[in-house]
Subunit: 324 residues, 2 copies
């Protein structure tokens, strides 16, 4: 039901913004405004056959724009400043930054996993970290099938997950110059990214004490995140039973014997393969998960949050979407 | 003691051969012959200021060359044909292929880990898989400290580990075209590389039933392998105790807080960091290991095997190195 919905895309010139604009256009949204920082204001971005002129994202523009929905795909500090202004202006804000993800009262939503939590928002719904989205899409059906006792994973994260500047850096490298790096703030004994992944997974799955450890690594790839995952379940779950549960899960596609990250690029589903016994423990399974970090890992998940809230049943008493 | 030792390097035009030639030259070996397949015969390879003309590696050339030592850094099928000929000709053969690694009676040697096994050779000492070498260098001191109960790991393996052709493919890619791939034969539910890594680790550590699972992944990087590792020990081992054990281990260097793979390129040591508790299990530790897969992961380890066998104590009754 895109007709008449007034949409703002904030961060239109970044890594995620253009993908979000493409998805909005595909779905027929017509009243779309593009915003970015002062540095990028005045640029033009594609919107189907048209172009949109990028406006400067200021608190005033957010508050007075009369937006029904505002998508934010910008840094955490910028979201902290702009999102409350958009909320004050009456917009439903779907925010990709980590500014509000763990805040009490802010739903952190992967529609297929905990979509029912979205409705409880008070103007802000947080879009999880790209790695969290693909992981929880796979962990949820396993949890439902056998109870999740713990998870370990090593990630292979692409440069687009770090934003447009990281993409430009990769594109400026000569052939063979690519390196495995770890470009997140490091504190204590982990990267901020690993802390996010653990705490967001716990919040989304509503397992606050879930045993969890991640090793996050950036690889010289443009788009497509991969994860080598080991899970332990409370009850025995054979690889065959795990595959059945995954096969039945929304937005999850089993690939036999295994998907490579490039198979996921441009796709909406989370691809999973290599579902096998972990012989090092009882009730252990190993899996390999890949996903387009810009689509399901970011823009598509944000749009699905909106679509979920546009569902007439959900929307009935939602003050922000009453006009939809 | 390189004087008078007659050395053959078979696979001189591959990914590992040139590194081996560089190391041999640094150590003062003078009588070195370079071999490769018929396709590469006639090429010239650098040996210090000199150049060596590459000869065709035939069984006849191997058998009649009068070599004291022959290093093989070629494919498995070629090693199966050429190594026995060189053994028949009286050479000590140090073979990098997987042809003989798991054969009974063939020592599979990482000098710092199980160097004492090298002496029992009958003409062939096998050089482990590059991933196995860096892993066992780190697992051994942990095993000695607290008993190794199990290991899981995800690898980030560079293209040079797959040989010169894989390097050329990476160098021919446009910026941003790099992908995460899995380019090994796949059988049952694992890659051949994962099977090698498990079985070689078990043989080297002499833990035939070690609980072990690897997920092997190729990343678009030229040189430098990384591993995200989880280990479980039989007895409790704190991260501090683990670091002490690793710090005391030969050829292992702790990097605080963590090494990136490029830090290892051109270095002799295996670098390890991120030594931390694995909160998902009792007696669990997580680590991150990086290594130059062409040096310690291949050429350097091979040369260290030779140097170990040249030790006068070891050599006393070694029929092949009696002249050294």
């Amino acid at each position: 039901m895109p007709e008449g919905v007034r949409v703002a895309v904030v961060g239109a010139t970044g890594a995620v913004g253009p993908v979000l604009l493409e998805l909005l256009h595909e779905r027929g949204y017509e009243d779309v405004s593009a915003f970015a920082s002062a540095r990028s204001a005045g640029q033009r971005v594609a919107y189907g056959e048209r172009e949109l002129e990028v406006e400067e994202a200021t608190p005033e523009a957010m508050q007075s724009g009369g937006f029904d929905v505002a998508f934010f795909a910008i840094g955490t500090a910028a979201s902290r400043e702009l999102v409350p202004a958009a909320v004050a202006g009456g917009a439903l804000c779907i925010d990709k930054s980590s500014a509000f993800r763990l805040a009490d009262g802010v739903p952190l939503v992967v529609p297929e996993v905990n979509g029912e939590r979205a409705r409880a928002h008070d103007g802000i719904v947080a879009n999880p970290n790209c790695s969290t989205i693909q992981l929880t899409c796979v962990l949820k059906p396993l949890h439902d099938a056998a109870g999740l006792a713990g998870a370990r994973l090593a990630t292979y994260q692409s440069h687009s997950g770090a934003g447009a500047e990281s993409v430009r850096e990769l594109l400026a490298q000569a052939p063979g110059e690519g390196h495995v790096t770890m470009d997140w703030p490091f504190e204590g004994d982990e990267f901020e990214e690993e802390d996010k992944l653990r705490e967001e997974t716990r919040k989304i799955l509503e397992l606050p004490d879930l045993h969890f450890q991640a090793t996050c690594v950036r690889v010289p790839v443009l788009v497509g995140h991969a994860q080598a995952v080991w899970v332990e379940t409370e009850r025995p779950l054979s690889p065959e039973e795990a595959c059945e549960a995954l096969d039945a899960a929304e937005s999850v596609r089993l690939v036999d014997p295994y998907p490579e990250p490039r198979d996921a690029v441009g796709e909406d589903d989370v691809l999973v393969g290599r579902v096998r016994r972990d012989p090092t423990t009882a009730n252990g399974l190993a899996l390999f998960i890949v996903c387009d970090n810009l689509r399901k890992g970011a823009a598509l998940n944000a749009l699905q949050i909106l679509e979920l809230l546009q569902d007439p049943v959900v929307v009935a008493d939602d003050r922000r979407l009453r006009a939809v």
